[in-house]
């Protein structure tokens, strides 16, 4: 039986740690470039998750033994590294560094086409690394399980291979689509929408009987939400755009959502239908870009997106509660 007060305490601690981290970094450097913004987002998320894990406490085995351990010890640090280096090579500072080098060779004062080509190549390379991460993620999360050693009754080797390839492809597509949306106006709503999906996943997985998985998802939701709100406030106060932060938070939130849902499906009792709905629900944000549903005003767009995403998630929660009352309620 979960200790609701303890979970609430851990969630609040995670949110507070994320906010304090953003505040500290904002005070240290009020006006920030892409790299500093990305660093702030990643550090805030890490601080929130770490604090929440300590307060709960959520025991993590090193070397990792379960899917959740592998997510925390391998997958998330790898994602952080990829995103940080990605921001570093796409950042204005790096481009400026290349520009000054090309200036020394060609002092006419114009950005050379070579610089443009290099930047585009690096952009392609960054996405290739991300796609490779998407391909590897299901394999890492399922490592050592009955699915990969061919002893599972439900899934054959061929079926599990198809499932891993399909889920990697789905993650890659979602990443591209949501990354694009995060660059547009009201882009900060995308990580908030993902946080809603993560919250739904947390409760659904807990109601299905996997407390630890749901608890981690709660901490992720709190950290993601707190970081998003904090960096958005910082950007508004300091007067810089929020596209970079929205993209970084979208990426981490999506990777966390995908991982939690995959672990809940293959190790817990989350159904395939619930997993797919939760994973794809943030895509409903794209409906506000449709001409027929386009809204004017940032707040209207944000509200519209969150309402659209909340509808299927609310239905899932109701169904999960009904199932819990029927099957597991009697055990308590």
């Amino acid at each position: 039986m979960p200790d609701v007060l303890l979970f609430a305490k851990a969630t609040c601690a995670a949110a507070a740690a994320s906010m304090m981290t953003v505040l500290a970094l904002a005070v240290a450097r009020r006006s920030a470039g892409d790299v500093w913004q990305t660093t702030a987002c990643l550090l805030a998320l890490a601080a929130g998750l770490f604090t929440g894990v300590c307060v709960l406490p959520l025991p993590i085995a090193v070397p990792p033994g379960s899917g959740l351990d592998r997510l925390l010890v391998i997958a998330l640090p790898a994602a952080w590294t990829i995103l940080w280096f990605g921001s570093y090579t796409s950042g204005r500072e790096w481009r400026a560094g290349l520009f000054w080098k090309s200036q020394a060779a060609d002092p006419t004062g114009c950005e050379s086409p070579a610089l443009e080509r290099i930047t585009q190549s690096w952009s392609c390379f960054r996405w290739c690394v991300r796609f490779a991460f998407c391909a590897a993620l299901p394999r890492v999360l399922l490592h050592g399980s009955v699915y990969l050693n061919g002893t599972d009754d439900e899934w054959s080797s061929m079926q599990i291979t198809v499932a891993m390839v399909t889920s990697s492809f789905a993650l890659a597509c979602l990443w591209v689509l949501l990354d694009r949306l995060a660059m547009r106006p009201a882009g900060a709503s995308v990580p908030v929408a993902i946080a809603l999906a993560v919250q739904c996943a947390a409760v659904t997985i807990m109601l299905a009987g996997y407390l630890k998985g749901g608890a981690f998802a709660l901490l992720l939701c709190a950290s993601l939400l707190a970081t998003t709100l904090s960096v958005t406030a910082w950007a508004k106060f300091a007067g810089f755009a929020t596209a970079v932060q929205s993209q970084v938070l979208t990426a981490i939130g999506l990777i966390g959502l995908f991982s939690v849902v995959l672990i809940g499906r293959f190790f817990g009792r989350l159904t395939t239908e619930s997993a797919i709905i939760m994973l794809f629900s943030p895509l409903l944000c794209w409906l506000t870009e449709w001409r027929m549903l386009r809204l004017s005003g940032t707040w209207r767009v944000v509200t519209g997106r969150l309402v659209l995403v909340s509808i299927p998630l609310a239905i899932l929660l109701v169904l999960a509660k009904q199932k819990f009352d029927q099957e597991l309620g009697a055990l308590l």
Partner: protein, 192 residues
């Protein structure tokens, strides 16, 4: 000595030698699932006991009566065969908060040393559950042989108490079910 008497003596000598060798060799036994059981019980709300069993168990043991220290014992339990007479609870027990059967499909015991005691054996070995291995000592009582329909059988019984939190079970999930579990193993082996 006549030739016949020489052959007779030789044959007798050979028989004694072979017989001695057979008597000194270890007897190998296979775990008989039909006549054995691995069951457990744990406290519920500290007022009652929840009982359960594992339905798929396999194992083998080798008994060396002359040199008991050379005996070996192995047991493998399929964790997802857990049965507490409640389907919903069994599904719950298979999840990562408890046995995590998709990640850790088996619970195993493999002996590392055996010591004869009055009435049985004291067996020390590696017990692995939920990805955690610890050295434990079992007191196996029994070991009497019985030949039934030409097949030799040997049986042992043991009980052990262990804490689920020592084996990586989620402490938050322990709650109304007690941390300590009592495991009862009644094992009958059939000589191979």
């Amino acid at each position: 000595m006549t030739a016949a008497k020489f052959v007779q003596t030789l044959m007798l000598g050979l028989l004694v030698t072979v017989g001695s060798t057979t008597a000194f060799a270890a007897d190998d036994y296979e775990y008989d699932l039909v006549h054995s059981s691995v069951s457990f019980k744990a406290r519920h709300l500290d007022i009652s006991w929840i009982h359960g069993r594992f339905n798929e168990v396999s194992g083998k043991f080798s008994l060396d009566r002359e040199q008991p220290a050379k005996s070996t014992f192995e047991l493998t339990i399929q964790a997802d065969s857990v049965d507490t007479a409640n389907k919903a609870r069994d599904e719950h027990l298979r999840q990562p908060d408890y046995f995590d059967t998709k990640q850790f499909p088996t619970i195993t015991f493999k002996s590392t040393s055996v010591k004869p005691i009055k009435g049985g054996y004291e067996v020390t070995g590696d017990f692995t559950m939920h990805g955690t291995t610890k050295s434990i000592t079992l007191v196996l009582m029994g070991g009497e042989e019985h030949v039934f329909k030409g097949v030799k059988r040997v049986a042992f019984s043991t009980e052990l108490s262990l804490k689920r939190s020592d084996y990586g079970f989620d402490k938050n999930a322990i709650g109304p079910i007690g941390d300590a579990a009592l495991i009862m193993i009644d094992c009958e082996g059939v000589q191979k």
